[in-house]
């Protein structure tokens, strides 16, 4: 009989290396029934790797695991799932082109076989029940998954995991994909699970969330366990310090109140896009850091794209005042001194198979010429090399493909690309997502020095602290309209900001 407090999964001396990188360094963990264990740590601390090893996605290099008292070494996530260990991964875990029911029961199709035929109706019906059981409404199991948005797809994924009735549920950074209502569903599910004496391991970047829901917290750094803390001892400063391992200067954003100039460098004049924006007006000033925030579907990402010419602006125009050009295409924007960092780093800001060098050089084709159209490879090498040094991009060689770098270093390459080109107007969409605190600080410094050099920067972000820390002016968007305008000089009031967001 499963009892609360009974050890469900035990991990001893877990060790995992990928080539020369040590991801998990002799970690011991103890997961008990009826308990929500939180794992927190910076990127690269090993938390995702540990859970993926427990879930069978990766194999440990050495170490032992015990599940319900017996040796545990799943070869695939399917094997783990069958034995009651389910994981909700960080990335998209559903296939968009097939139906919701097909996603929920993926790999289990033979259960619906009658003779050689698969019974679609039965599968749809049971999928509907699974969704109802976790409290999800409004999703029709027979519809293709692409008809639903990202949050709903995540909920479908949660349904999939819960359909297998797991004893141990691993949640890896899932809350970032969910809105308020989605998170409520997830929290309810987790607490229900622990009440029936299942166990949950919860990974999140959000310390508040973890402190609110977890019974215990394990702090990881550089692949090692730093500390295990019980709920009654939760202290945010203590935890943060242990995560980073050194005293964090609380001022890692700007500390100044420098203003910005009057001159308008970029103007969006009553622009309308196919979705989200309707007659939207915006002005960007020289030397200004303009923050744009809101809930994820508020239209701020579309705005960023529209300003760079990546969205179809059907009415109104985006205009660069210095050259008086209308931005309707990204190459026009680029030619006139604009730059854009997309929030989909891997898919849109980088060519993963090309070298660090080639990626940085991609903005310098015109700059690095010597004679007519010919490019000097020496100039190119310097162009890239300077950025690698200045940004301290960690790699074994400047020629290695970007795919092999860590998230923070990848983002540095993206930054390097635009800094080298000396863009006058830079649009940054979620620039520090998935990036370590150390690297974040360096980036904020960079942004500030760019501002001082007279560049104009737009930061679009879902993290309020970042926006408050860095912006001269902060606009909050809601459903495609500006719902709040705030100035740094007035001080940023968190309550007012959140009010404007929802």
């Amino acid at each position: 009989m499963a009892e609360k407090g009974e050890i469900l999964m035990e991990v001893k001396e877990l060790y995992k290396n990928f080539g020369v990188t040590i991801a998990v360094d002799h970690v011991d963990l103890c997961i008990r029934r009826g308990e929500i264990l939180g794992l927190i740590g910076e990127n690269g601390s090993g938390k995702s790797t540990i859970t993926s090893i427990i879930a069978g996605i990766h194999q440990a290099t050495s170490g032992q695991m015990f599940y319900m008292g017996e040796k545990w070494k799943p070869g695939t996530s399917l094997e783990a799932s069958k034995r009651g260990v389910g994981i909700i991964v960080q990335e998209v875990g559903t296939i968009a082109s097939i139906s919701v029911a097909e996603n929920i029961f993926i790999g289990e199709y033979k259960h619906f076989k009658k003779g050689p035929f698969i019974q679609k109706k039965k599968m749809n019906r049971e999928a509907g029940e699974v969704l109802k059981n976790i409290g999800v409404e409004g999703i029709d199991p027979s519809q293709p998954t692409f008809t639903y948005n990202i949050e709903q797809r995540k909920l479908i994924e949660i349904a999939k995991i819960m359909a297998a009735a797991p004893e141990l549920i691993l949640v890896d950074e899932t809350s970032t994909a969910l809105s308020e209502s989605g998170r409520k569903i997830m929290y309810e599910m987790i607490h229900n699970a622990t009440q029936s004496n299942k166990a949950v391991v919860f990974i999140s970047h959000d310390l508040e969330e973890l402190m609110e829901h977890c019974d215990r917290l394990t702090i990881l750094r550089d692949g090692k366990v730093i500390d295990n803390i019980e709920r009654n001892n939760f202290d945010p400063d203590d935890i943060k310090r242990k995560m980073i391992g050194r005293e964090m200067a609380t001022e890692y954003y700007r500390s100044d109140y420098d203003g910005y100039r009057e001159e308008v460098v970029l103007k969006a004049d009553c622009i309308t896009t196919m979705e989200n924006l309707l007659c939207f007006n915006l002005e960007l000033h020289k030397g200004e850091i303009l923050g744009i925030g809101g809930l994820s579907e508020c239209g701020m990402h579309t705005l960023g794209r529209a300003l760079y010419g990546l969205e179809d602006v059907v009415d109104g125009e985006v205009r660069i005042t210095s050259s008086n050009t209308v931005v309707d295409r990204p190459d026009t924007a680029f030619k006139n001194g604009m730059g854009y960092v997309s929030k989909n780093r891997d898919r849109e800001s980088l060519e993963l198979d090309a070298s660090i060098r080639a990626n940085i050089q991609s903005t310098g084709y015109k700059i690095n010429r010597i004679l007519g159209p010919f490019i000097s490879s020496k100039k190119e090498r310097d162009y890239a090399g300077r950025q690698v040094d200045a940004l301290e991009i960690k790699s074994s060689s400047i020629n290695q493909p970007v795919r092999t770098l860590s998230g923070g270093n990848k983002q540095k390459v993206v930054f390097g690309k635009w800094i080298a080109e000396d863009a006058d107007i830079l649009i940054l969409d979620c620039p520090t997502r998935g990036v370590d605190i150390g690297v974040k600080a360096a980036m904020y410094n960079l942004i500030y020095s760019m501002k001082k050099a007279g560049k104009s920067i737009i930061i679009i972000s879902e993290e309020l602290p970042e926006l408050c820390g860095m912006s001269d002016r902060l606009l909050i968007l809601r459903e495609g309209k500006i719902s709040g305008r705030f100035l740094r000089s007035d001080g940023y009031d968190n309550e007012k900001l959140i009010e404007a967001m929802i």
Binding site: C270, C279, D312
Partner: protein, 350 residues
């Protein structure tokens, strides 16, 4: 609710069958006007149509088996040659008639598919490149055996059934039934769709992407063998070619396949769609041939139509987009006017 469903199904079916009918009508008019001949004039014409239809249908299905998974395999032609020449020769030597030839060719075609499928999952080079290389090999094998003679069906006992109308219809219906089952109701089909959505996620979920892929190749090979047998029966014999000549069969059957997939999207059955598509193109080809033009001119016209179809097909989503865009612009202009009117109102105090 149910009435609605039946109505919708009937409507889609009507849409689908209308295409070959429309083509037939157009060419009936054109042909009679130009040369006085209709599209179908004699019983022999019907027979010819059916014989070419089954070949086109089976080939288009064979191409689709891999193309839908993102693999363009140009070696299908080569597999057909191997299947027909080896299978046909074997069956004839064993004294088996038409059905035996068909089964042997399909079996050997399937073996070829198995070979290339296994090669693919192990060496994992680009499928198009693998297809090219294997075409060279398959063609060479056919050339080298039997003193480059290939195989002849003409005049051989028992091969008459391969040109019998009823037999062809039976085989076509069987192919339709089996492929519909495979792609829509079997677990292979469900797994296939999951893999086409995302290899990684499907494989993480425990679906064996490798065996599924090999099965796709085997199906393609079997269908190629089947198509080849009817083609050879029609032409009387099959002589081996070199220099990638066999890949032509892929190109000539692209139009039926593409049209078929489009039709299939209405009626929710790709296999039936491809059958109707092949029928349409066959009627089109016969109609063209009755206009009294040379073969290359016919090809010119046929592929120009293919081009136009591709352009329309690829851009039809654009038309919907344009309409939505117009609406959005109207909304924008209205909003703009409203906001300007608001500004002109006396300013309200904060």
């Amino acid at each position: 609710m149910k009435k609605n469903k039946i109505y919708n199904t009937a409507l889609s079916a009507a849409k689908a069958i209308s295409i070959p009918i429309i083509i037939w009508v157009i060419f009936e008019i054109l042909d009679r006007a130009v040369t006085g001949l209709g599209v179908i004039n004699t019983v022999a014409d019907v027979k010819t149509l059916l014989r070419n239809l089954i070949t086109s249908y089976a080939f288009a299905m064979a191409i689709n088996a891999n193309l839908s998974g993102g693999r363009m395999d140009l070696s299908i032609g080569g597999q057909m040659y191997v299947g027909v020449i080896f299978g046909g020769t074997l069956a004839l030597n064993l004294g088996w008639g038409g059905i035996g030839i068909l089964l042997c060719a399909m079996f050997i075609g399937g073996l070829c598919g198995l070979l290339i499928g296994e090669l693919f999952i192990h060496i994992r080079i680009l499928p198009m490149v693998l297809g090219l290389g294997m075409t060279l090999v398959f063609e060479c094998i056919c050339f080298a055996i039997n003193n480059q003679q290939g195989v002849t069906f003409f005049g051989k006992a028992g091969t008459e059934i391969l040109s019998s109308v009823s037999f062809i219809i039976i085989v076509a219906l069987l192919l339709l039934a089996v492929t519909t089952f495979l792609f829509q109701y079997s677990s292979y089909g469900y797994k296939l769709r999951a893999i086409q959505g995302s290899q990684k996620l499907a494989s993480d979920a425990g679906i064996n992407i490798f065996s599924n892929c090999v099965f796709c190749y085997i199906i393609a090979g079997v269908l190629a063998g089947c198509a080849g047998v009817f083609e050879t029966a029609y032409k009387g014999g099959l002589t081996p070619v070199l220099g990638m000549g066999s890949s032509n069969v892929v190109f000539t059957n692209m139009f039926p396949m593409v049209l078929g997939i489009w039709i299939g999207s209405f009626i929710n059955n790709t296999s039936l769609g491809i059958l109707v598509g092949s029928l349409s193109i066959r009627i089109l080809i016969i109609g063209l041939s009755r206009l009294g033009l040379g073969t290359s001119t016919q090809n010119l016209l046929l592929f120009s139509m293919f081009l136009v179809f591709m352009i329309i097909n690829t851009n039809k989503s654009k038309i919907a987009y344009r309409r939505a865009r117009k609406k959005r612009i109207a909304l924008a202009k209205k909003t703009r006017a409203d906001m300007a009117a608001l500004e002109e109102m006396p300013a309200l105090q904060n």
